[in-house]
């Protein structure tokens, strides 16, 4: 168990970073609470692996401190940090058996033999590896190897956090969900902090209680999956999460109305303060909160295409040169190529330079 605190941590890979753009990880303050299940979500290159490696100690950050339960571990090497890490592809010791793999971290720390075998069999049972304890690690399939990898982390009694770096990348698709649910179950069973790095939102949203979304080296939002869907704090979050992602339109502000291309006014849920000129203003609204209008009300749009994806239909429409997605119920009839849409106020958010105006998730 550990509360991991990141105090003004930042990192750049080059020797002399000059400005903010040189930093792979921009200054960050965050606390990973005890026993939490976190997902670190973002596209390739956003800095999430850098952050993970800073926590595990494989990278020493250019600035800032890391504290485990109040203790400064910034200069401590990895082996002394009580963390375990599962990598993108299975990292196991080919020449050893499964049992020897699991025992390895304990033997290196000079645990007595009796305790080693006890813990090994416990972990093996938990991960359903008991039957293959005597097998050489080399011939196993990828998903079993990842479990062995994970087991090496669980076997240590002092492990306080387990870090996962896109661990399901090389797993067969039909085994992915199985492994995911096992991970979730393990989290509930142990009281471990688990940090799960991924670029796949489904993995993130199903595994984690709290999702940390990163973009270009910066943390753009931290919240529950619901928060991310309902109140994206950044246009990137809106776009990245949800299938399809949030619709974003350029707009101007007039009191409590937003004016979009074509002069149409959309009512916002409250009046906003004056925005300084030169700021890029946009409104964002999820396709679930855009409704096709049956009658004469609403904003006219040109319907480009309607995709039927099972329980819902997604209509792709064009409004003044901007493409929008509209989610319609399965039985909706969308006729012709001109229709009207309505925005549900209360779910229309205002963004200035990409950031949500009016604060983060409530």
């Amino acid at each position: 168990m550990a509360r991991i605190l990141l105090d003004n941590v930042a990192h750049a890979y080059g020797p002399t970073p000059r400005g903010l753009p040189d930093y792979a990880l921009k200054p960050l303050n965050h606390a990973w609470e005890n026993g939490g299940a976190y997902a670190l979500l973002g596209p390739s290159g956003c800095g999430k692996t850098t952050l993970l490696n800073i926590i595990s100690g494989l990278i020493t950050p250019k600035q800032g401190r890391i504290l485990f339960d109040g203790k400064d571990v910034t200069q401590l090497p990895t082996a002394q940090r009580n963390i375990a890490q599962v990598f993108q592809f299975p990292v196991i010791y080919d020449t050893m058996t499964v049992a020897q793999n699991l025992a390895f971290p304990l033997r290196n720390r000079h645990f007595p033999a009796a305790e080693v075998s006890k813990r090994v069999s416990e972990v093996a049972q938990m991960l359903e590896l008991t039957a293959i304890l005597g097998k050489k690690a080399r011939g196993l399939t990828a998903d079993v190897k990842q479990k062995v990898s994970l087991g090496r982390g669980l076997v240590r009694p002092d492990v306080s956090a387990i870090l996962f770096d896109e661990p399901l990348t090389v797993i067969d698709p039909h085994l992915k969900w199985q492994l995911r649910s096992q991970l979730k179950a393990l989290h509930r069973q142990f009281d471990l902090t688990m940090i799960y790095v991924t670029h796949d939102q489904t993995e993130a949203l199903t595994f984690a209680d709290t999702v940390v979304v990163m973009y270009e080296g910066e943390v753009v939002q931290i919240g529950t999956p619901a928060d991310l869907l309902e109140r994206p704090a950044h246009t990137f979050v809106g776009y990245f999460i949800g299938s399809p992602g949030m619709n974003v339109l350029p707009a101007d502000l007039r009191g409590n109305h937003a004016v979009i291309g074509g002069g149409y006014e959309i009512e916002l849920d409250r009046p906003y303060r004056e925005i300084p000129p030169g700021t890029k203003l946009e409104i964002g609204v999820r396709p679930e909160y855009v409704r096709l209008s049956s009658g004469e009300e609403g904003i006219p749009v040109a319907v480009q295409r309607v995709d039927d994806i099972g329980r819902i239909k997604v209509a792709r429409v064009r409004l003044d040169g901007v493409h929008l997605n509209v989610v319609a119920p399965e039985d909706a009839r969308i006729e012709g190529d001109v229709s009207r849409i309505l925005f549900q106020s209360g779910h229309v958010h205002l963004y200035a330079d990409g950031h949500l105006v009016g604060g983060a998730a409530s």
């Binding site: 595990s56 100690g57 494989l58 090497p77 990895t78 082996a79 963390i83 375990a84 890490q85 990598f87 993108q88 592809f89 990292v91 010791y93 080919d94 020449t95 050893m96 390895f104 971290p105 290196n108 720390r109 080399r138 011939g139 990898s149 090496r152 982390g153």
Partner: protein, 288 residues
């Protein structure tokens, strides 16, 4: 590796097969042809069956050369392979020194073999060579042209100098292909330096080391030019390795028969020993 059965893979192998077989089969047939025939000139050949093979296999001279060859080969293997691996482990991985190391280490490999022999021939001479002067200067009675032990020492030193870098380069390339994550996991697991070598580096280098061992074995078994230029097989015939002996036989005889037979026997010995090496080193691989 779990391989899938796919006979269409033959197409991927075909170019290789054609180019190599073209060069191999036809000359091979010629050699076999000579080895079972006798001639008295005028391109008239008589089939003699296994007479030449028997002659070679029973010859004292052949046994002696073979023994010398085996001694030489196993000695240099025992030196070059561990040394090469040790150097590769300590070579820099990143930074400007990588280029320096790689280029300098490759230099001995690039020198034509007759020049290698020539360099060491002079270099080790007791009167005008640096090595010879130094060794005699520190009190050793060293003269490779007279004393067989000195000739052997020089020969082995020359080979180590010439070829260890091959092992180094192969081992280094093998090491570089180990993903960082393994070293990271080893850190997390608290593994010692020795454990990292034994459980990560050595197993992952195994295939590459097999190639290095096989290459050095085969090439040292067939070595001709360098020892020929260095000692000519002498003093006496103390350093007459198999190839040198073969050439002496071929040049000295009127018949190509014994030489051809000897070549084939030679080839079969190398084949057998290589196959044994290969099987031993690969025995832990999965039998798919």
């Amino acid at each position: 590796m779990d391989k899938t059965w796919n006979n269409k893979a033959w197409f991927m192998v075909l170019p290789v097969l054609v180019l190599v077989a073209f060069n191999a089969i036809i000359p091979l047939m010629t050699v076999v042809n000579y080895s079972v025939q006798e001639t008295f000139g005028d391109n008239v050949f008589f089939f003699e069956g296994v007479k030449w093979f028997q002659q070679v296999v029973n010859s004292e001279r052949f046994h002696a050369a073979l023994l010398r060859q085996l001694t030489f080969t196993f000695t240099i293997l025992a030196i070059e392979v561990p040394l090469g691996v040790a150097i590769a482990l300590t070579m820099p991985r990143r930074g400007p020194w990588v280029s320096v190391c790689l280029v300098l280490m490759a230099l001995p490999l690039l020198i034509p073999w007759n020049v290698v022999g020539a360099i060491w021939n002079i270099f080790a001479l007791p009167d005008i060579g640096l090595l010879g002067r130094v060794l005699n200067g520190i009190g050793l009675d060293y003269n490779y042209t007279r004393q067989p032990e000195d000739a052997w020492f020089t020969l082995i030193l020359m080979d180590v100098w010439h070829w260890t870098s091959l092992v180094v380069l192969l081992a280094y390339a093998g090491l570089s292909s180990i993903p960082d994550a393994f070293y990271q996991a080893a850190k997390i697991d608290g593994a010692s330096r020795w454990a990292v070598f034994r459980y990560i580096q050595l197993p992952k280098m195994k295939r590459v080391l097999t190639i290095a061992v096989l290459l050095r074995f085969m090439d040292s078994f067939m070595i001709y030019t360098e020892p020929s230029v260095l000692t000519g097989g002498g003093p006496g015939n103390s350093t007459t390795l198999l190839s040198i002996d073969l050439v002496k036989v071929a040049l000295g005889q009127f018949d190509l028969g014994p030489a051809a037979a000897m070549s084939i026997i030679y080839f079969l010995i190398v084949l057998l020993l290589s196959w044994i090496f290969y099987t031993l080193m690969m025995r832990n691989e999965e039998r798919s």
